[in-house]
């Protein structure tokens, strides 16, 4: 069935199909519609779930941890300051290997106060031990809610997943979205299995134990090892989803017209659509350009990224965030992957879209022009801001 709905609605529809036992969430713009819809679904009985009205995001995550610790499927959603408020709990969830799924509506961080979309919030938490996926449109948002549970709950992964969608550009934009049948989702997503890390009445467990300087490191190594190897599960789940529902998102990343590209723009999230449109226009003009949509930032697809980018002359990375005093965070991560290559392509960073500023086709066109110039051997500023309204 197709419905004309917003990204927030799409997330709620995806969550309903995934049937979490408990939803604990606190409303925050631009995530609010999602949790409102979910509470309506619980009220009208179309989603049989316990909806916990918590007093803060910190409590929302604490509840999700409690729920997941006894083996139930938990969902929460947040954004921006709310995500940072719950951040103390995030490493508890990942360290305890609890397969919680969270929707994060990417939004600017104060101050100056701003409710619109950029990706400063989730970049803050790249090191939280959560899998981070970024979606391009409302359909992918819905589909990833279903995929996220299957990935998180996989025996080899057992790691929480944060599904990120750009505030307003995705959360509040209406699109035609295909809503899968419940029977098909039930066949794709089995009920949550009980693993060793959850409480058992028959064999009581001690949860969130201490591990001092003698054992702590090995716990963390295990967590990292499983996160690293989750890429295989992510690829397999996406393929299985494609087989079941006809939508395959290309796993860790989607290389668009990159085969013979001399210039590639790396994007994360909704800006990908605009970049693909401009890429098509430039291809029509005979320019060899491509777009690499990075879907996952954790785990980071080092090998796959290098395979796509290794013979490129110039690579651009769009960052809707700044790591103050350095550069865009995605740029850092891409460069770090590329140093594993013998011959490293040129890379440029394009920072923009902060506080919800549009990244337009003209902006992307300018980015590609700069990259083409760089590929031709011209000097270009390594870190640039897009669409600045005054002299820099």
């Amino acid at each position: 069935m197709k419905k004309f709905i917003s990204g927030d609605d799409a997330v709620a529809e995806g969550v309903r199909l995934a049937k979490p036992h408990v939803i604990s969430a606190y409303p925050i713009t631009p995530q609010t519609i999602t949790v409102e819809r979910l509470s309506e679904m619980v009220e009208d009985g179309s989603l049989v779930s316990e909806y916990m009205h918590v007093e803060s995001e910190h409590s929302a995550m604490a509840c999700a941890i409690g729920v997941s610790s006894v083996g139930a499927r938990a969902f929460t959603a947040t954004s921006s300051q709310g995500l940072l408020y719950m951040s103390e709990c995030l490493p508890y969830a990942s360290g305890a290997r609890l397969p919680i799924v969270m929707m994060n509506a990417n939004r600017a961080l104060a101050t100056p106060w701003n409710i619109y979309g950029d990706q400063m919030d989730s970049m803050f938490l790249l090191n939280s031990g959560w899998i981070q996926v970024y979606v391009e449109d409302a359909q992918e948002a819905l589909d990833m809610m279903i995929q996220a549970y299957r990935i998180a709950e996989d025996e080899a992964v057992m790691t929480p997943v944060m599904v990120n969608l750009d505030g307003f550009v995705l959360t509040h934009t209406y699109e035609l979205v295909d809503i899968p049948l419940q029977e098909k989702v039930d066949a794709f997503l089995p009920p949550i299995a009980t693993r060793d890390q959850v409480m058992s009445l028959d064999a009581p467990k001690s949860l969130c134990i201490t591990a001092g300087n003698d054992f702590n490191q090995e716990f963390k190594m295990k967590q990292d090892r499983d996160m690293q190897s989750s890429t295989a599960v992510i690829e397999a789940v996406d393929k299985a989803f494609g087989d079941a529902f006809g939508r395959y998102y290309k796993g860790m990343m989607d290389a668009y017209r990159c085969e013979d590209a001399e210039v590639i723009l790396v994007t994360v999230g909704s800006v990908t659509g605009t970049a693909k449109t401009v890429c098509n226009q430039l291809r029509d003009e005979g320019k060899k350009v491509g777009v690499l949509k990075l879907r996952y930032l954790r785990p980071f697809p080092t090998q796959g990224l290098c395979d796509v980018l290794k013979s490129t002359k110039a690579i651009g990375v769009i960052d809707k965030n700044i790591s103050f005093g350095y550069e865009g965070t995605i740029f850092t991560n891409v460069n770090s992957a590329l140093v594993t290559l013998k011959e490293r392509p040129e890379t440029l960073n394009f920072i923009g879209g902060l506080g919800g500023r549009d990244i337009t086709k003209q902006d992307i066109r300018g980015v590609f022009d700069t990259l083409i110039s760089k590929a031709a051997g011209n000097a270009e500023e390594r870190i640039q801001y897009m669409n600045v309204r005054c002299a820099e």
């Binding site: 305890a96 290997r97 609890l98 693993r195 890390q197 467990k205 969130c208 134990i209 716990f219 295990k222």
Partner: protein
Amino acid sequence: MDRPKVKKWQEPASIDAYPLGATCDSDHLVSINAGWRTFKPVIDHDKCVMCLRCFLVCPDGVIDKSGPQLEIDYDYCKGCGVCAHECKLKCITMVKEEK
């Protein structure tokens, strides 16, 4: 005594053998913690009326009441003497540990 007892523990030989998450089985004690005791409490069971005052006040919960008479778990008693001090019938004596 139905208190958890010390079990032999095998250190995980590989990362695989580590637990999934920061979780372990409960009732699993791996070491004795009584080395600093100078005096140990000894109950005179002829005088004891099982009022359970010592059981309630013991800061380490080492007094077991599951059997026919109270029993002290000397693996974890630190010898603080609170039980002897609080016993109304004076039936707990603090006896010097002999090495």
